[in-house]
Subunit: 477 residues, 2 copies
């Protein structure tokens, strides 16, 4: 299978394999400041596909985009105690502006709850203004000690939704609606199956009442939190003095949500699908969906003509397609587009012209198929997208479900967590001490309490007390 000597095999060193793909597929480069990466055109184009997909979904569900300032005054960040203690330690702080020392330090936004809250305080008046459903596309800064491209950066790109509702029920519904949009994106766009569920109190967002998550499982058995959706109740609203006049003429405090996904999703895609030849992209998120390679076009004038004809027809149908006419050898090109994870390669050579056919090679399973060069070709290529996306999703889903192991004792828990077996599904007492112990002994965390809470044991294997919750524990990125 392995054809590209240039990268370290995943089995040998997954971290190295990952970094090499990031660089060699030209997704990113490092900048002079630790943890701040350069999103190169190919990496950024993946993010643009994710943005387009989500922005469309957000607008369909009645959300509007806004843009809040980059800098947050210290006094504003401090209003919600949990929030400041959660975020302040990882902030970058501006202390000088226009060559003068500032009176008050300004924090580069690590997230924008406080800014949205302050704005909501100013603009919300009547129950008629509700719901307010905003989203923002921006970058945020968190001063991380250990950084890895896309997975954990001191700066990353993301979207953050912020909404206000009249009732708690409506806000809870919004929280789950957005989680479902993320989950659907996993299936439709990224070919990644997520485990969805609720975070434990220890793991929830600083200041949230409830946090829901989409968790992906990587090939090394580690979980990757890929997006979250928070129900805030009205604690932020109370701290930031947000209220409205209800139709019964009394002042009320609205209920709030926030939710976000980031360029970390690019990290999920790389690890979930990549192989020893490089990146493997699902078709709907791929910046280049089809690459056409004319083979020895100098031998037959028909070759380039057919390549161009097919290219035009695919463009007409909205397919993201490229012809590579460069002087490099076919072998070099194959390796190149494999590294870049282009889902479909189409070769047209002298023999193909003779036989009135083309060769189609799928990236994800290396399967090859000969298609007639006729009127049905374009539709056949397009129908491959669905087949490939489903094939990739199903493969990842089989892996995921074979790596959720019910554990009934501490020994079984240890086995799953220390031998890369994925999620340990455990009945948990609900107390923080047991979570802390698991973290300390096995370096693993409660990833989520899945929506399906069908129990299977009576006691928590850590403390022996009555178990009340089904929890998935795993090591995580």
């Amino acid at each position: 299978m392995k054809k590209n000597d240039a990268i370290t095999p995943r089995e040998v060193d997954m971290a190295k394999w990952y970094s090499e793909i990031c660089l060699k597929a030209e997704l990113m480069d490092y900048s002079k400041v630790k943890g701040f990466i350069i999103y190169r055109p190919y990496g950024y184009a993946i993010w643009e596909q994710i943005k387009n997909y989500l922005d469309h979904q957000f607008k369909l569900t009645g959300h509007e985009n806004v843009y809040m300032p980059l800098l947050i005054p210290q006094s504003l960040l401090q209003k919600e105690a949990d929030h400041i203690s959660g975020f302040a330690p990882e902030c970058a702080v501006v202390t000088k502006g226009g060559e003068k020392d500032l009176k008050e330090p300004l924090y580069v936004r690590p997230t924008s709850e406080t800014l949205f809250c302050d704005h909501f305080h100013d603009i919300l008046n009547s129950y008629r203004d509700l719901p307010i459903k905003y989203n923002q596309w921006c970058s945020v800064v968190r001063w991380e000690k250990t950084t890895r491209p896309f997975l954990r950066g001191s700066e990353f790109l993301w979207q953050e939704g912020h909404t206000l509702h009249r009732t708690s029920a409506e806000a809870r519904e919004e929280t789950l609606r957005m989680l479902n949009i993320y989950n659907k994106m996993g299936e439709e766009l990224l070919a990644i199956p997520f485990i969805t569920g609720k975070k434990t109190d220890k793991e929830k967002f600083a200041g949230a009442e409830e946090t829901y998550t989409i968790e992906a499982l990587m090939p090394d058995g580690q979980a990757l939190q890929s997006g979250t959706s928070h129900y805030f109740g009205n604690s932020f609203a109370a701290h930031y003095d947000i209220h409205y006049l209800d139709d019964d003429n009394t002042l009320k405090v609205p209920y709030q949500t926030s939710w976000g996904v980031s360029t970390r999703l690019i990290g999920s895609i790389i690890m979930e699908h990549g192989d020893d030849n490089g990146l493997v992209l699902p078709p709907y998120v791929a910046p280049i969906q089809v690459v056409i390679i004319p083979i020895r076009p100098e031998l037959n004038g028909e070759i380039n003509k057919r390549a161009k004809y097919l290219y035009d027809k695919l463009v007409e149908k909205g397919v993201r397609v490229k012809i590579d006419n460069s002087p490099s050898s076919p072998g070099w090109k194959y390796a190149q587009y494999e590294m870049k994870g282009v889902p479909i390669r189409i070769d047209i050579g002298p023999k193909d012209v003779e036989k009135n056919s083309v060769l189609l090679v799928r990236r994800f399973d290396s399967s090859r198929e000969i298609y007639s060069f006729d009127d049905s070709l374009v539709d056949k290529i397009i129908s491959e997208f669905e087949t490939i996306n489903k094939g990739m999703y199903d493969k990842a889903n089989r892996y995921l479900h074979s790596h959720i192991v019910e554990v009934h004792s501490k020994e079984e828990l240890k086995d799953v967590l220390t031998n890369n077996k994925g999620y340990a599904k455990m009945m948990w007492c609900g107390c923080r001490e047991c979570e802390d112990k698991i973290k300390e002994e096995f370096n693993a965390t409660a990833r989520c309490m899945p929506f399906n809470q069908e129990g299977f044991d009576d006691v928590c294997p850590i403390c022996g007390k009555k178990a009340s919750k089904v929890v998935l524990f795993a090591r995580a990125y």
Copy 2:
């Protein structure tokens, strides 16, 4: 004409009129940090239209989007002397990260030339890599003393293009190609005629060899620089050690450009087209192109049915349309959508149903027309967009060209500049001293040397020396 008592008339106080439109049309709000504004949904949606238009044009002309880090190390910013002296005084500086003092201060990007140069140094190898044509959508920070929403902010949204070319001729061509795209956007999207031309050395970008500009003329006779395109030659490339191996096997330094427009364009639109009833938006940039107002729908069930039918038909054709079914009075709604500058209002009331017609009211000239409610209605509405856009452009263009005044003496120059007469078109000697004098005495600057350099005088009216250039002087935002 004036129906909305809520805002200050433009003639009375243009600055106040402007700020009131910004707030009352809900384009923006102020944040707690001076010069940092909140882009509210309606303002941000205008920016999204501009983004969509330009992003499409950039991609059609072979540009790729990237994202560079937010923070620039001081040492990197310092490599180009003109550049650092131009930008450092207006930078925000991060000195703390993760609760520790940083060893080297990090500047929040005021623009990203230095980051692009550093990256180009790393990725450029061979002549085969050229041209490299990148663009970035982001926000930048410049610590401004006097700020006004959209026109001059400490933070603003923009795009910055950065390209590298093998030859000087190709880079110059790129510089003008992008200027032309901006100019075409003025005509097609913003209904704003720009004066295009070259900046004098005094006015050019810090570090550029040549700067080209699009300048709009506001109703108070002041110019508004609305976008620039720079030819860098290879000075940046030399300072940042960017080179490539050419096909003759020698190392060469490439030629560079950069170009950008910002949310300042929203300011141009407000001032260029707005009136005493509020914002007036050209149809192609308007977030809501058509608003349908059912009048007394309780009187005839057909009214809401027709409104919904028309709405659906317009949505089908991709028109951005809204029905306002709220309980507010028609008069209140009219004032509301006038304030928001919605280009076309359609009223459907009981009499319209009787006569099988609708009333169409254009925002920009208040003209009213009765149209049959038949199969041709949708196409007629859509064809209004072009008529309105052209009408708005032509009006602005007549104003512009009646406010370019040839001056032959210092007295004439003074008259134009101090009496809000627009551009003083003057023959200039080419020396910096005369520019400084005009700045000092009349608070005006050389806006540009227009492409048409047909001369009309022999001497510079300031110093009496031989004149060599046609220059447009004006006061400017």
